[in-house]
């Protein structure tokens, strides 16, 4: 007689902010098998390019996901701009950079909170999200939206940030970073956190690379990959290097993100120091014709917008390959042989964003 326990994990499950389903097969609490299934939030928005003007599609692109919304719009716009050979003003590029990093901060703090919650550390969740609100405030003040910023458009950005505001933002970030450091300290040092994360969901460097993992998931395993290094928007002018950890476990992935928080603050500071004055957009004339693979570094890793157009107002194909999709194979590998209590921790350790993954 088998001693299996078969449990449906999700799609509705309190640990999952978004629906994903796992068939969990357990023995005691050891996971014998975990087969994922997704598709609960698939909308099919890529198909909307057939209906929307390519310029208006950016509103839809940024609604691929409310967490990494801004960078999606950057990715999309960049694709169109490169097809059309539009020279985006420097200032706009810098603003895009700043907002991208804000968006990363917001996403990582959100994730840190959810991650803490997944291992039953409620206070940490609350404190992470408390800090995150400050980021959102800055976002809302500068772009007009808390989570869906809508400030990036083909040819530039919609809103400018005044220099004095930029200075204030940096000042706020300084205050914030001490809070962030406190939090990171908990994630790095606390025994109970380590108990839940160290050695859990290990994936080796080779495996991570060959499975195509991206972003912090890959960097946590020692794969140094960060699309920002390709120098899109203004990253080429800024000094930073990918945050890499070698543990390959949940702890390492967590550490990568925690350190990236501070890195983002640093990048923002650099960008604010270097931001040139000038226009924030250029006029876009005509329609795109051609194709382009536009790659951007999302909080969760490399995101790819493939755009193919044929000179009409509606582009032909927009394909988005989001980091979560790329990380799912690694996740499947990680889940084998863990404990049931680890399942939420491991699932969240890749920072899954199903909204992105399924579009």
């Amino acid at each position: 007689m088998s001693r299996r326990i078969v449990v449906p994990f999700g799609p509705q499950h309190p640990v999952l902010p978004e629906p994903i389903h796992l068939d969990l097969v357990l023995e005691d609490e050891h996971v014998i098998e975990a087969i994922p299934s997704i598709g609960y939030v698939h909308r099919g928005l890529e198909k909307l390019v057939e209906k929307r003007d390519f310029k208006d599609f950016v509103y839809i692109a940024e609604r691929i996901c409310g967490i990494c919304s801004f960078i999606h719009s950057v990715g999309y716009c960049q694709g169109i701009e490169n097809i059309m050979d539009i020279e985006v003003p420097k200032r706009a590029q810098y603003l895009r950079t700043i907002w991208s990093e804000y968006s990363r901060l917001h996403s990582h703090l959100l994730w840190l909170g959810l991650f803490a919650d997944s291992m039953g550390f409620e206070n940490l969740f609350m404190n992470s999200w408390r800090i995150r609100e400050k980021i959102l405030d800055a976002m809302e003040e500068t772009t007009g939206g808390r989570v869906i910023q809508g400030s990036c458009k083909v040819g530039g950005v919609r809103r400018d940030i005044s220099d004095s505001k930029l200075k204030d933002m940096v000042k706020d970030l300084d205050i914030l970073s001490s809070d962030i450091e406190d939090l990171c300290h908990v994630f790095f040092d606390d025994d109970t956190v380590i108990h839940r994360t160290k050695g859990v969901g290990v994936i080796s460097k080779e495996a991570a690379y060959s499975l195509g993992a991206v972003g912090p998931t890959a960097r946590g395993s020692g794969v140094s990959t960060d699309i920002r290094k390709t120098g899109y928007v203004a990253y080429a002018d800024l000094d930073f290097s990918p945050v890499v950890e070698t543990g390959g476990d949940c702890y390492a992935r967590c550490a990568v993100r925690a350190r990236e928080l501070l890195q983002s603050v640093d990048i923002i500071k650099q960008a604010v120091d270097a931001v040139p004055s000038g226009d924030i957009d250029v006029k876009v004339k005509g329609n795109p014709d051609g194709e382009y693979f536009s790659r951007v570094e999302q909080p969760r890793g490399e995101c790819l917008h493939y755009i193919k157009a044929n000179g009409k107002k509606n582009i032909l194909r927009e394909r988005v390959r989001t980091p979560t999709t790329a990380n799912i194979p690694a996740l499947v590998k990680m889940l084998g042989g863990c404990e049931m209590a680890d399942v939420p921790v491991i699932v969240l350790s890749i920072d899954p964003c199903i909204g992105c993954a399924e579009r």
Binding site: V88, S210, G212, E291, L304
Partner: protein
């Protein structure tokens, strides 16, 4: 700002596995597999990256033709291959984790294979209601 160079190599479907294997052996990672339908042709891009150099293999196929899976070479490719199958109706053979059309269940089968899909409103509503009653 740097603009990434775009590299494509058009290859024959038959050579796919060989080419992918080459890529794998020379240390590329699989970035994505993406499909698009242009006219009657399905264009499938296999994107690879190695040290920030981004390259694509492209094959073309048509309705009803089968495409071999590369999941023996890149284990993780199943996610893209299943997706292509579900959204485009392209049959991919030999996937290691074959969801058999259940990765993404859609109202319209293979929606990207249909020209100008909009929702077939009235008819779909009806089925929705029938489903509800069944519950």
């Amino acid at each position: 700002m740097t603009i990434e160079e775009q590299k494509y190599t058009d290859i024959m479907k038959e050579d796919l596995l060989k080419n992918v294997k080459d890529k794998c052996e020379s240390g590329y990672r699989l970035v994505q597999i993406g499909c698009g339908k242009f006219g009657d042709i399905f264009e499938i891009n296999y994107s690879f990256e190695k040290e920030y150099s981004f390259e694509n293999l492209r094959i073309k196929t048509t309705e009803g033709e089968k495409v071999p899976s590369i999941s023996d070479i890149y284990w993780g490719s199943f996610i893209y291959e299943n997706e292509i199958h579900d959204l485009f109706g392209v049959e991919v053979t030999g996937i290691n984790l074959d969801f058999k059309g259940n990765l993404i269940r859609t109202t319209v089968k293979a929606p990207f294979n249909v020209k100008n899909v909009t929702k077939v409103k009235p008819e779909k509503k009806e089925t929705a209601e029938k489903k509800t009653e069944d519950n």
